[in-house]
Amino acid sequence: MTSSILQRVALGDPGAPAECIDRYGGLVWSLARRLSPGPADAEDATQEIFLDVWRSAARFDPAVASEATFIATIARRRLIDRRRSAQRHQGTRPIEDHAAIANDPPAVERGEEAAAAARALAQLPPEQQRVIQLSIHAGLSHEQIVRATGLPLGTVKTHIRRGLMRVRDSLSSRPSLAAGGRP
């Protein structure tokens, strides 16, 4: 049986970490760059994320999520933790930048889960799509989204929660990913 990269990391395959870094380093770096206040913070965050990946590799279950989703989940958690602890995220980028990001077409080449998420997003009303993109992709806080969109706070929270649940349902309805699990 061919093991995944993360399974080989967990087993101590000496070549697996480099392979993991080469395959997912660009993904992690792009997340860290986008959700960190500056390049130095992004570098530190990337280092911390991969430490989390090495620690968590043994818990990777391909029946629950793809490697990319598993690693992106770890990365997002770390980045959110860093942002909360630093308390300096607000105002690091102008809202206009996020509007540009929100207009980027979905990149569906990340695998089946990303494609399923993109399809689920596309079925949402445009206003909800934008709120989801501002929150998840641009990393804006609820309050920042309120200022950027003029929507009430309750509406923003509802859009995010229902959007996430819609995507969750699209992922969990896929037979290979129906089981639970945690990175």
């Binding site: 990391v9 101590g12 000496p14 970490p17 480099a18 870094i21 380093g25 660009g26 770096w29 792009s30 997340l31 760059r33 570098e43 990337t46 280092q47 991969f50 430490l51 090495w54 620690r55 629950v64 999520a65 990319a68 989703t69 992106a72 989940t73 997002r76 958690r77 959110i80 933790d81 942002r83 909360r84 990001i101 980027d104 979905p106 990149a107 990340r110 695998g111 889960e113 990303a114 399923a116 998420a117 993109a118 997003l121 929150s135 998840i136 992709h137 806080s141 609820h142 929270k157 995010i160 929660r161 996430l164 649940m165 995507v167 969750r168 992922l171 639970g180 699990g181 945690r182 990175p183």
Partner: protein, 267 residues
């Protein structure tokens, strides 16, 4: 999804909030209580949904080569210590998870691993002396406490003894250290909580530009540690060597807040 009780909206509210912007301590406690009351809940499903959305929207950026080297250095320190070899020391077994690392850092310059070589793993006191005899410009500098330069405050680990043996022409050398405490490890995972890092001050560059000469760990509480030094960046005239405690993998620029020992050439 839930136990006997229906899954409350508040649980989804908290899981969604955690997935996009994190929770306050009070909210974390509340979430923990709700999850305990609903043990069938997959607590990570909305986190994975957020990650999948990010994957759908994000575009990769090329990982900087120097950062890649730093990540690899971390991985070598962290992964599969049982498969890695021990490094040389006299008197006591030294296990740096089997890896000796040397990194070079000059402000924004590279950190890179040094995998060994003739003076790499297994270096002994005899190797050090042979090296010194082979290079006429070899200098020796004794370790002393690295007190705070401004306040005179003592280092985190005072009393480390030994010496640095260094050759500018060879661009390498050795550290001999006794009395260096064992590196801290996380009690839960057993992973290194921090490492030691050697900094070289080049007399032609000034104090502000410190070159990283080695990143190492110490798993033994006693005995002499012999660590090779081989910076990737050129040291024109080594003037001062200093050891600090840094996070695993080392750092590019140290704030020198966790000082250990210092050796001044001719000092």
């Amino acid at each position: 999804m839930s136990g006997a009780d229906p899954r409350p909206d508040r649980l989804d509210d908290l899981l969604a909030a955690r997935a996009v912007e994190g929770l306050s301590p009070a909210e974390r406690d509340e979430l923990a209580a709700l999850l305990a009351a609903h043990p069938g809940t997959d607590a990570d499903e909305l986190d994975r949904a957020a990650a999948a959305i990010d994957l759908a929207l994000a575009k990769d950026e090329a990982l900087p080569a120097l950062l890649r080297e730093r990540l690899l250095a971390d991985a070598r320190l962290r992964i599969a210590p049982a498969q890695q070899t021990s490094a040389g020391r006299s008197g006591a077994r030294f296990a740096l998870a089997g890896w000796l690392a040397a990194a070079a850092c000059l402000l924004l310059a590279a950190i890179a691993w040094w995998p060994g070589g003739p003076a790499g793993r297994g270096a002994t006191g005899a190797d050090v002396e042979a090296f010194a005899r082979a290079h006429a410009d070899t200098v020796r500098a004794a370790w002393g406490d690295f007190n705070d330069l401004a306040t005179g405050a003592p280092p985190e680990f005072p009393g480390v003894k030994g010496e640095v043996v260094w050759s500018d022409s060879a661009q390498r050398g050795f550290m001999r250290l006794t009395g260096l405490p064992a590196s801290a490890r996380d009690p839960g995972s057993g992973e290194l909580a921090d490492v030691y890092q050697l900094w070289i001050v080049d007399g032609t560059r000034g104090l502000g530009q410190r070159i990283s000469g080695a990143i190492f760990a110490n798993d033994a509480a006693s005995g002499e540690l012999i660590i090779p030094i081989e910076p990737r960046l050129r040291v024109n005239a080594a003037a001062v060597f200093a050891v600090t405690v840094e996070r695993p993998g080392g750092v590019w620029v140290s704030d020198m807040s966790r000082r250990v020992c210092l050796a001044a050439v001719g000092g």
